[in-house]
Amino acid sequence: MKRFLNASAILIAAGSLTLRLATGAHRGWTKTSVAVEKTDEVTGLTYTEYEKRFVAGVEILAAGLAVASALGVASCFFGRRPAKPANATIH
């Protein structure tokens, strides 16, 4: 159980970090569309078009690291060897 929790914590932390880096390491909130600035040739007006694209924000990284930390802490409570009694003798 301890190993499973530790492995899950590492996977989740690495996954959220990788997702954030892979989608552009955006410093703001998560986006599901990205603004693309364009210019109308005749009028010279600039306008924005939105491309559907997922960009992971800092809250995804924060949530991933929080879950990973919680799993890491939880793993400390599993698999502990019971303390040997003080008067135990070795035969």
Binding site: R27, G28, W29, T30, K31, T32, S33, V34, A35, D40, V42, T43, G44, L45, T46, Y47, T48, E49, Y50, V55, G57, V58
Partner: protein, 207 residues
């Protein structure tokens, strides 16, 4: 002595009125290309809240020979407001913020034009009008830059239509507290000032 209008005087008055109005054109700002837009920006922690609205319509009557006679109304569909974060967008259209279902239109209707300066086909002016947002109407004065593009509609419509274009640019700031936009949100979390940038082009068809 009483003055009685003679047919000649009436004809003269009518022709003078027609001459005065001849230069006036009505520009339609409904834009199927989706170029016309209003961009907004509010400072906020981590990242500014910025987005656009492209549901623009309305008409402006403009005379390139007499820019001060400009008058008209621009309407922006509140439902077309867009921000890239889906949760933020939901909040933006919600009751606390824009309440888009209850107040579907954002409008500006001009009442006065002042400080008009023209150079070539470009005119700058201060336009005073009634600005309605979230059901609250206030009189505001905004700086406007107008560019009159004669016979340029054909270039924009691949020759399908002929006519003139009127480009309107304006950048101004309003306070969200003036319009009851989420008054519960403290200004140190989300700025009270909303920066608005209008980029619009209207078309006047020639028959």
């Amino acid at each position: 002595m009483t003055l009685t209008p003679t047919p000649l005087a009436l004809l003269l008055c009518t022709s003078l009125a027609l001459t005065a109005a001849a230069g006036q054109q009505s520009f339609d700002f409904k834009d199927p290309k989706g170029v016309n837009n209003a961009a907004f920006r509010l400072d906020a922690p981590l990242e500014a809240i910025s987005g656009t609205a492209n549901g623009v319509s309305g008409t402006i009557t403009y005379d390139p020979e007499n820019p001060a006679s400009l008058h008209g109304k621009i309407v922006i569909a509140a439902a077309s407001l867009h921000v890239p974060n889906p949760m933020m967008k939901e909040h933006l259209h919600g009751e606390q913020w824009m309440d888009s279902k209850k107040h579907p239109e954002i409008t500006f209707e001009s009442t006065k034009v002042s400080n008009v300066k023209t150079a070539g086909n470009e005119t700058t002016a201060d336009v005073t009008g009634k600005f309605t947002l979230r059901g609250v109407t206030k009189e505001i004065t905004v700086p406007v830059k107008l560019t009159y593009l004669k016979d340029k509609l054909g270039a924009r419509s691949n020759g399908q239509m002929q006519g003139d274009l009127l480009v309107v640019r304006s950048k101004f700031t309003i306070k969200r507290s003036d319009y009851g936009i989420n008054p519960g949100a403290p200004a140190d979390n989300v700025a009270d000032e909303i920066e608005l940038t209008l980029s619009l082009a209207g078309a006047a068809l020639k028959s």
